[in-house]
């Protein structure tokens, strides 16, 4: 039996084929974080990549010396807002992983403040993910994850860890913070992988 909500639907929004199922369009840029915003100075910022074989680290200046890309993309939050045509600048994770030797297929992203999120390595490579430091032509604000956040726009936005400080390769797809708290291990918005 279908349930109808009497009289609902008069204020409906236009549908847009760019919107994954169950998402609505926002012009705003909502903020979701489990704890306080982190304020990390670029002088203190470090980024690491830890594999089973060793560790590589970048300072802010070293990261900025890597090739920088312009990224125009749609973003989709599991809380159902989507924002279309956002513009970013960032460093492709292909550059970060260039020459890195690892057998592991999964990654745990770590953030300043302790946040974690797990992502399969395949979702980070091939021009699909960046370390982003600019939004709309401005340095990324702390409230939105600045100075540097992960940007993995083909997955729900909780995977795009704010205040990212490193990536740790892992043998298994161990769950990160929200994934331990009920959210999906992969989080593909087109498959509506919101919850377990």
């Amino acid at each position: 039996m279908s349930v109808f909500s009497r009289g609902f639907g008069l204020r409906r929004r236009e549908s847009d084929p760019s919107l994954p199922p169950g998402q609505y369009l926002t012009e705003d840029f909502p903020v979701l974080s489990a704890g306080p915003t982190q304020f990390v100075d670029t002088d203190d910022w470090r980024f690491f990549l830890q594999t089973e074989k060793g560790r590589t680290e970048w300072s802010w200046a070293e990261a900025m010396a890597l090739p920088i890309e312009e990224v125009a993309t749609d973003i989709h939050c599991v809380t159902r807002w989507s924002k279309l045509g956002t513009s970013w600048r960032g460093i492709s994770l292909d550059s970060i992983f260039a020459g890195v030797d690892t057998e592991y297929r999964y990654v745990m992203a770590h953030s300043y403040g302790g946040y974690t999120t797990n992502v399969p390595l395949d979702d980070l490579l091939g021009g699909k993910a960046w370390l982003a430091f600019e939004f709309d032509g401005e340095p990324l604000e702390p409230v939105h994850g600045g100075p540097m956040r992960l940007l993995v726009p083909h997955l729900y936005f909780w995977k795009s860890a704010k205040w990212v400080r490193g990536l740790q390769m892992q043998q298994n797809d161990d769950p990160g913070f929200w994934e331990q708290n009920g959210y999906h291990l992969r989080g593909d918005p087109w498959k509506e992988q919101r919850y377990w």
């Binding site: 009497r6 704890g35 377990w196």
Partner: protein, 241 residues
């Protein structure tokens, strides 16, 4: 833990105007598995032509009851909230899925002091925590700091006043207009107020902050300034920045 794939049919039992922009809805949901204090749900509306919209709402009620309580503020340009605040009537049907969220919750087994900080309708999950604290007879010290524009904008005023006891303190911040004779001029939450009204950092309270993004940003920054440990400050926000 989540069991969130199943949509349950709910029937609106009552819809009472509670503030100038918000209503309290009681929804009867047979099969609702109960919820922890602080959890939320997905609410789905379906138009007669099949058009659907889903939004998340925090749950003000707590425990095993299958009648759940929501407090909904109407958002400008909203699509779902104006329907819930203006149109929906007792007897109308909607669907819910949940409960959702395992982090912004309080469990009665938590022995430590708890500071709740609410901005506007951000009080909803904190109300569930306050109710759980009251009902279970928890002796954990609780303190709720509730920031509203005016006294009329507050939800649950009487019920919260009834909770006041040795282990539950209620403090108000009025940002636009205060009740007559109120000792402080209206204004947004300042460091001094927070310092005076919040459980001190030395007592290592768990702090739950919920409200509009700007409010949560300001409050959590002040908390860190006052020495609260980041790991003990949990936040839930709504809206942009």
């Amino acid at each position: 833990m989540v069991g969130a794939s199943l949509w349950l049919t709910g029937t609106v039992v009552s819809a009472e105007s509670a503030t100038p922009s918000g209503r309290i809805l009681m929804v009867d949901v047979p099969g609702w598995p109960g919820n922890l204090a602080g959890q939320h749900l997905d609410l789905r509306l379906t138009a007669e032509d099949g058009y659907q919209a889903v939004r998340s709402y925090s749950i003000a009620s707590v425990g095993s009851a299958t009648t759940i309580e929501l407090a909904v503020d109407e958002l400008p340009d909203g699509e779902v909230s104006p329907y819930l605040v203006r149109d929906v009537q007792p007897g109308d049907q909607l669907e819910v899925r949940g409960p959702l969220g395992g982090y912004f919750v309080w469990r009665e087994t938590q022995p430590e002091p708890v500071q709740l900080i609410a901005g506007g309708s951000g009080v909803v999950p904190l109300m569930a925590m306050s109710r759980a604290h009251h009902r279970t007879g928890s002796t954990a010290p609780f303190r709720l700091l509730y920031s509203v524009r005016t006294p009329e904008n507050a939800y649950f005023t009487d019920e919260l006043a009834g909770f006041e006891s040795d282990s539950f303190r209620l403090d108000w911040v009025y940002t636009r207009s205060a009740p007559e004779g109120w000792p402080a001029a209206p204004g947004r939450l300042m460091r001094d107020t927070l310092e005076a009204a919040a459980i001190p950092a030395e007592q290592q309270p768990t702090v739950y902050v919920c409200g509009p993004t700007g409010f949560v940003e300001a409050a959590s920054r002040l908390l860190l300034d006052l020495g609260h440990e980041e790991a003990r400050v949990r936040t839930e926000r709504f809206g942009g920045y």
